[in-house]
Symmetry: C3
Subunit: 261 residues, 3 copies
C-alpha cells in the first residue's frame, strides 16, 4: 500500500492545454506508477516566462501536503547544456530546469541534485521534451520509493540559478518590488508583502500613483486600478470586474515603487 | 473504506485554466481527503457571468451520481457581505456563493445552509479566494463524512438568491426565453425545451427569423444559423462548421421569441 | 480488484476546455466505473481538424500502457449516418467516429468494430453528443470487463475511413510530406521521419527553402524558421522563442517537399 502523502505529482509548465504534451507526460507517469494522483497546477505560464513560473510555484506549493513531487517545465534553454535539477524541500521535491525558476525555494531547500543518470530516464531522450523523457520517469521512480540520492547526483545548492529581483529591495522610506504574475482577470500580483499596507504613503507603477482599496474587489472604484491585499499575502493591483493590466498597460516584470513612513 | 459515491468533487468556476488557482483548490481538497476524485466541470465560465454558470451546472449535474459535492465559484461579489451557501439536493450537495447561480436547483433542493462556521475553513480566510479558503476545506469535510448540518447553519431555502428569467415566459401563442450559454463552437444554447419544436410557427432572435434544421448540425444550410434540438433537451441555435454567435452577433442573455400554434 | 492496466481512459476531442462537455463525459464514465483514471490528452484539436487529431493520437498513444481505452471525438459529421467505431490494438482500444481520424492505427489494428448496440449506450442518445451518450458508457463497459466483441459488431478493418496523404510520398530524390500538427508554440510538426535528416539536400515549404538546425531550439538562428528533429521522431519546423507558423504563414495540411541524395 502506498502512503497517500507520496502519491501526488503536480505539473507547472508553459505547454498550454491545446496540445497532447501534458497528457503524454501523465501517460508516462501513470504507466510506471498507476496510483499517482496528478494535479495540473498551471500549464499556461507565458512561454519562457521564468518570473511568472517561479511566482506561480511560490503561491501554490504551500497548499500541498508533505511528500508531493512538483514537476516544473518553463524551459527556454531546453536542449542546451543547462542542468535538470531536483530540489529537496522539507515537504516535497521539485524537479525543474536550472534556469532560476526554483528561486523562491532555494534558501530553505535541504539539498539540491543534478539529474544526470540516464538509466532513470526514458530509453530515448529527445532534445526538446524533457518533461516526458526525464522528469516524468524520475517522478515515477520517486513515488515508487527510490530515494532521490540514488536517482540523482547531489550538488551545492548555491550553484542553482537564481532570478534577480524576485525579492523586493527594501530601503528606509522606499520599497521597490515588481509585478511577478498577471492572472486571467488582469490582476497584477506583486512580490511585496501585504503587511506593508498601513505604512504606505504612495504607491507608484509606470509613473502612475495608485489608490489603496479598503477591502476586496468590490470596494475598488469603477474604472480604476487600485491596490489591495491579495489572497496570497502580497499586494495585488486589481480593478472591479475589469482588468488592471488593460487599465495600466504594464506587464510581468514591471517595477512597483512604494514610499513608506 | 470510502464509498465510491462519496468521492467525487466537481469544480465550476470562472478561474480559467491559465493560473494556478484551480490547482491550489485541488491541493487543499487532496491534502485533507486524498481519496477525492476531482472533476473539472468548467473553469471558463465568462468572468462574472452568473447565467452561463447556472446553465452549465443545470446541463452537467444530472450526469453525476449520487453523493457528489459540486463547488461553484462565479463570484463578482467575493469579499462582500454575500453569503456562501450549501444546497442539499436529492443526489448531491452544491457549495456556491449566494448570487443566483444555484437558481436551477433551488426548487427541488431539500435544504439550504449558510457556510459561516470558520472552524471548518482554512485558518486564514482571504477576502478574495473563497474557493480555496472556504469551499475546498468544507468539501473535504463533507467527503470525510461530517454531515452538512454540522458544517453549516440551515437557512430558509426561499432566502437563496435567484436569477430572473432563467425560466422562459410562456403565454398562449408566445414563448419568450433567452440565450443562456454560448459554447466554444459559437452554438447558442437556449432555455426553451426542445419539445416545443413541432408547435413552432416562427422563431425570432435579435429581429432575425431563424429556420429550423431537420436533424443535426450537418443538416443546417451553409452560412446560416438555424435551430435544432440540442443534446441537453433544449433548443439550440447553431451553424454548420461555423459559429452561430458570429453570424447572429448576439450574446448570453439575448431574448429568444417563439410564436407557437 | 481492478487491474491497473485496465483503468485508464484518455480523451482526445475538439471540445475545448471552456464548456462543461468534457466534465460531463467524465461524469458518465465515473458514475459507471468509479475506479477509472481519466487522462485529458487533447481537447483543443482545432474544430473539425481530422489531420491534427490523427497526429495528436499517433504521437501520444505509445506512452500509455497496455489496456487503455482511448476516446476520440473530432467529429464534423456527428449526427449523420457515419459509423461510430472501435479499433482493437495490441495494447489498447480506440473509440472514434469513422472519419479517418484513426488512420495511423488501422494497419496494425487487430480488429475493427461498429458501435451499434444501443443497449450499451445512454438510454437517450442525442444527435450531437456521442462522446457522452455512446463512447463514455461503452468505455465504462470495457473497463468493467465486458469484451468488445459483445459491445459491438465486428467489421472489416479495411472498411474504416482513411485520411489521404497522412503517410508521406517517397520517390527517388524526393519525399513529399505535410504539416500534420501546429502546436501552441507555433512549431510545425511534419509527418516526415527524422532519420531522413542526413540525406536532405533541400527542404521546401510554401516556396521557401529552410535551413537545418544543428541541435535543439537554442541552435536556431533568431527570427528564422528552421528544421530540427522533433521529440516525436519526426522533422519539425521551429523558431527560437518564436512561432514558426507566424514566420512562415502556413497551416496544418501544408505540403513539405524534401530533395534528397
Amino acid at each position: 500500500m502506498v502512503a497517500e502523502s507520496g502519491r501526488i505529482v503536480t505539473l507547472t509548465t508553459d505547454f498550454g492545454q491545446r496540445d497532447p504534451y501534458v497528457g503524454v507526460v501523465k501517460g508516462v507517469i501513470l504507466s510506471r506508477f498507476p496510483q499517482a494522483l496528478i494535479v495540473d497546477l498551471n500549464h499556461e505560464i507565458p512561454p519562457f516566462d521564468i518570473i511568472a513560473g517561479a511566482w506561480s510555484l511560490k503561491i501554490s506549493l504551500p497548499y500541498f501536503k508533505s511528500g508531493a513531487v512538483h514537476i516544473v517545465v518553463v524551459d527556454p534553454g531546453v536542449g542546451s547544456q543547462q542542468r535538470r535539477i531536483a530540489l529537496e524541500l522539507d515537504d516535497g521535491i521539485i524537479l525543474a530546469p536550472d534556469n532560476g525558476i526554483t528561486t523562491p525555494f532555494i534558501e530553505n531547500a535541504k539539498r539540491a541534485y543534478s539529474l544526470e543518470k540516464p538509466r532513470f530516464f526514458l530509453d530515448s531522450v529527445s532534445k526538446t521534451f524533457h518533461a516526458r523523457d526525464i522528469f516524468a520517469p524520475v517522478a515515477a521512480h520517486l513515488l515508487s520509493g527510490t530515494p532521490l540520492k540514488e536517482l540523482a547526483v547531489e550538488v551545492d545548492k548555491n550553484s542553482i540559478s537564481r532570478i534577480e529581483g524576485l525579492e523586493p529591495k527594501v530601503e528606509p522610506g522606499l520599497t521597490e518590488g515588481m509585478v511577478v504574475y498577471v492572472d486571467r482577470y488582469g490582476n497584477l500580483l506583486t512580490n511585496i508583502e501585504a503587511e506593508i499596507k498601513p505604512r504606505i504613503k504612495e504607491i507608484l507603477i509606470s509613473n502612475q500613483s495608485l489608490k489603496i482599496a479598503n477591502g476586496s474587489y468590490d470596494t475598488i472604484d469603477d474604472g480604476h486600478a487600485q491596490v489591495l491585499c491579495g489572497s496570497h499575502g502580497y499586494l495585488e493591483i486589481a480593478a472591479r470586474q475589469a482588468s488592471a493590466q488593460d487599465i495600466l498597460k504594464v506587464r510581468c516584470g514591471e517595477k512597483v515603487r512604494i514610499l513608506t513612513d
